[in-house]
């Protein structure tokens, strides 16, 4: 109902906020994002975790690969369950793992890998996927057919097979991990963006832009991409956890991160094996990962709402 959309109270509050200068969607979005409490708290928490990961060596007296055979699988001092086998004592605030390495510093080193993989691979898939999908969808016709069949072909390659081939051809290294995961994740993104683009392309405001002489590139940049942002952000917040999990899966197969380096996925899978005798080995990495994923979700929701001008 038009009646509801333009209720007088809303109009008044907007008048107060109106400045003389023109504002863009992005300026408005930033203001709205910082008004969203859940997003702001999430950004702060995520920032703390990131800083801890970066400055991990300064936060703990132990090196991430220092093995102390006297404290194998020992719980932290403050662990409530006193029936466990041993007590790590001292500065092992998260206890130690099954070969006597400090768990706290390993969780932080794991954060480095997991956050890097999660962010970089998602960013790669976001950039390629959005550009590819928007181009295919907007230009359409034969180009669209060709581009989307190429996506279908890549889709049909088994993920593990694809990674193994990459490893064989390029030798194993850390960068390859990003490439492999990013190369798979952008496919879904491209499909989502293409579908959205197809429906937005039909809208009259695109035709209005064409009548105003806006070039194809600028139509995609100024009109299509801001309008596909909602579903894309939701998908991004789903991609980050799936990327982190994909990394742990590859590491588990010996194709990803190698000991003594570690990631959250590796720590969790090790901890899961020792769940009954040494639960702290599962709890700490799992809590870090869960908190991080929650933060990404809240930030994603906040971004989606902030970029939607109808939400005030």
């Amino acid at each position: 109902m038009t009646l509801l959309r333009t209720s007088p109270q809303n109009a008044e509050t907007m008048t107060e906020a109106v400045g003389v200068r023109g504002r863009s969607l992005w300026v408005d979005a930033r203001r709205r994002l910082f008004r969203n409490k859940a997003s702001v708290i999430s950004m702060i928490v995520l920032g703390i975790i990131t800083l801890m990961a970066i400055f991990a060596p300064l936060l703990s007296p132990y090196a991430y690969d220092y093995i102390d055979y006297s404290v194998i699988s020992c719980s932290p001092d403050w662990w409530p369950d006193k029936t466990v086998m041993c007590n790590a004592g001292g500065a092992h605030i998260f206890g130690t793992d099954s070969v006597g390495r400090d768990l706290f510093v390993r969780v932080l080193y794991g954060a480095r890998v997991s956050l890097a993989v999660g962010l970089v691979a998602t960013l790669v898939s976001l950039l390629i996927g959005v550009a590819y999908g928007a181009t295919a969808g907007f230009i359409g016709g034969r180009l669209d057919e060709v581009m989307m069949r190429f996506v279908d072909v890549l889709y049909s390659l088994p993920f593990i097979f694809f990674v193994i081939i990459l490893m064989v051809v390029f030798d194993r290294n850390f960068i390859l991990l990003f490439v492999a995961i990013g190369a798979v994740e952008w496919l879904t993104m491209a499909r989502i963006v293409r579908g959205q683009t197809l429906s937005i392309k039909q809208k009259e405001f695109i035709e209005a832009a064409r009548a105003g002489g806006v070039t194809r590139f600028n139509i995609i940049r100024r009109h299509i991409i801001p309008n596909v942002v909602g579903p894309v952000i939701v998908y991004v917040t789903l991609t980050i956890p799936s990327v982190i999990l994909a990394e742990s899966f590859l590491s588990f197969l010996g194709l990803g991160i190698q000991e003594p380096l570690t990631s959250w996925g590796v720590l969790i899978s090790e901890g899961a094996n020792k769940m009954e005798t040494a639960p702290w080995m599962l709890v700490f990495p799992a809590v870090f990962m869960a908190v991080t994923l929650f933060c990404f979700n809240f930030i994603g929701d906040g971004l989606r709402d902030a970029l939607d001008p109808k939400d005030r």
């Binding site: 038009t2 809303n10 023109g22 504002r23 009259e204 405001f205 070039t215 100024r222 309008n227 942002v229």
Partner: protein, 598 residues
């Protein structure tokens, strides 16, 4: 005894923005066999009033007061009791017949099913009654139509099926909620005829809800005018139209464009001798449509099939026609937004047809377009300031930013928007305000031609009048030419110097506006004009009508374009047909060849 008696009816909706009081203290009665017209603009509560009476409010709605049907209280009674009345004693027709019919059942099945449930009669008996009902609403070949699915029927046919369903059980009260709003004028005229006949034959009471004073004038006996949920005026139809008491009724009647008179002064067009701005010659736009079958290839849909026109500086050309006649495609082809199949579009001596898009772009600041749907034509994620500035930014890249902002503000003033609103988003505005934004966006580059594609069709009558005034005012100020496309012949008359009538991609008549409205020659033009309802009940009753029968034929069938020249038809749907020539019957008045009506 009255059929429906409404007392102190209030309808409220609980929304996130607080309570909305949609209907305020409504009181009225509907007598046996009476036809009540309910008029109001969007948001006036005219639909919700009757939805509430029938217990069809959405879940956040709440109705209080009393609604009595033949003395029995029906407001807020349990659905099971209500269902004994709904669909049999009280029936409803809605605006969009496609959404009211079940898509996966044939219309025969739907009719028969409802009959059998209500009357507990045999399949054969129900089938017989259903056929009779379809005959009553003048559906040709009713027996065959019963085996068809809703999507196979045209809008007009579907609305007839809805009327048949609503009337088949002989209701005491028929509520028609904007039943003709989505239909073309000629189809609307037929549907109104059918409703008038039914009223005589069935002796049901009818409630006609409409925003169109003309429709009400033609059918209602009593009229009730609503605004902001209040009934502001009630009275007999002749009285209301002759001597409206409430200022709002008067305003509505004044705002309503009338096909039989002109209310506005137009700026004079440049004399003919001056060079033409736009010369369209034998323009053709064909779209390839896939045939059925794997390797069947395509068949051309002739959206625009040989249209020629000239436009002088400062002149307004009205283009009218029913849906599917190619008027929007014509506009887009002239702007090079649709591919041109044949013919030429010459703009100030340059042929746009063979030009590259980059070359056309340089010319785009000279011709602009205003769209039908004000909200859909604005990017929801851009402030209106950005939307208005966009053509200027792309077409005049030499301008510094501050100049652009200054021009945007200036143009906002011209179209009646507060320049301080530049940072607002389209969803914060009403339809009329958004259309002003659309007009500002078109005018910002000071074009020589603006095409208005149904620019006022989606707006309420009072807003429509304001926008037309605005367009006429801007034309006086800036002297641009206009191509004003509309299905509404009354609106076109108010604004155009010349009028062109399109039928299935071809011009059937083109002339100065007074000539075409007062002396229409082509049978299609005459049918169109006589189908337009006039907001004057006395005149409506006495008017002679020229009716076209049947649906608009499929534009894929090449025979269709010769509906008015049957004598030249080659009986093959794919054949290249005879092209009727345009004859000049008076200076500047061209009419396509047609068979004399016998």
């Amino acid at each position: 005894m009255s059929v429906l008696e409404v007392k102190n009816l209030d309808v409220r909706f609980a929304t996130q923005d607080g309570e909305v009081h949609a209907v305020k203290n409504a009181n009225f009665t509907i007598a046996e066999g009476e036809c009540l017209g309910v008029v109001g603009e969007s948001g006036s509560g005219k639909s919700q009033l009757f939805m509430a009476a029938l217990g069809l409010l959405s879940s956040n709605g709440h109705a209080t007061g009393s609604v009595k049907f033949r003395g029995q209280e029906i407001l807020n009674i349990p659905t099971r009791q209500l269902n004994k009345l709904r669909g049999t004693k009280i029936t409803m027709i809605f605006q969009d017949p496609l959404t009211s019919l079940t898509p996966h059942l044939t219309i025969g099945t739907q009719l028969i099913e409802s009959l059998r449930i209500v009357h507990r009669i045999s399949q054969q008996e129900a089938g017989k009654r259903a056929r009779a009902a379809l005959d009553l609403v003048r559906i040709p070949e009713a027996a065959q139509r019963m085996r068809q699915y809703p999507h196979e029927l045209s809008g007009g046919m579907r609305q007839r099926v809805m009327i048949a369903m609503a009337t088949v059980s002989g209701p005491d009260l028929l509520i028609a909620d904007e039943p003709t709003t989505a239909l073309d004028v000629t189809v609307q005229a037929e549907i109104l005829d059918i409703l008038r006949d039914l009223k005589r034959e069935l002796k049901s009471s009818i409630v006609m809800i409409s925003h169109d004073m003309g429709v009400i004038a033609g059918i209602a006996e009593d009229v009730q005018v609503m605004r902001y949920g209040e009934i502001v005026e009630t009275g007999e139809v002749d009285e209301i139209f002759r001597a409206p008491k409430h200022p709002y009724t008067r305003m509505l009647l004044d705002a309503m464009p009338r096909i039989d008179s002109i209310k506005r002064e137009l700026s004079p067009a440049a004399p003919i001798s001056q060079s033409t701005l736009l010369n369209v010659d034998d323009l053709k736009v064909y779209f390839p449509i896939k045939r059925r079958g794997l390797f069947a290839g395509t068949k051309p849909l002739r959206a625009v099939d040989g249209v020629s026109l000239q436009l002088r500086p400062g002149e307004t050309l009205g283009v009218v026609g029913e849906s599917g006649c190619g008027k929007s495609t014509l506009a887009r082809a002239i702007l090079k937004l649709a591919p041109i199949t044949g013919g030429s579009v010459v703009w100030c001596g340059r042929d746009l047809g063979p030009m590259q898009e980059s070359a056309v772009r340089a010319l785009r600041k000279e011709f602009q377009i205003v769209f039908q749907d004000p909200l859909a034509s604005l990017d929801p994620r851009m402030t209106i300031g950005q939307s208005i500035a966009e053509p200027l930014k792309t077409l005049r890249p030499d301008l510094p930013r501050s100049d652009i902002t200054a021009q945007v503000r200036e143009m906002m003033g011209h179209v009646g928007l507060d320049p301080n609103w530049i940072n607002r988003y389209p969803h914060e505005f009403s339809g009329g305000q958004n259309q002003r934004v659309g007009i500002a966006r078109a005018m910002i580059v000071r074009p020589k031609l603006v095409i208005c594609d149904e620019a006022v069709s989606a707006l309420d009558v009072s807003i429509q009048a304001q926008i037309i005034d605005l367009i006429v005012k801007l034309q006086k100020e800036f002297g641009m030419s206009l191509i004003f496309i509309s299905h509404d012949l009354s609106v076109v008359r108010q604004i155009s110097h010349r009028v062109m009538v399109l039928y299935l991609g071809r011009v059937v008549e083109i002339a100065d506006r007074d000539a075409i409205y007062e002396d229409p020659r082509h049978p299609y033009t005459r049918a169109l004009i006589s189908a337009v309802p006039i907001p004057d009940p006395a005149l409506e009753r006495s008017r002679k009508r020229l009716r076209l029968t049947g649906d608009l034929p499929s534009p894929l069938d090449t025979r269709a374009a010769l509906t008015f020249l049957k004598s030249k038809v080659i009986d093959d749907p794919d054949a290249e047909q005879y092209k009727p020539r345009l004859m000049e019957i008076a200076p500047g008045h061209f009419v396509a060849e047609y068979d004399a009506i016998t």
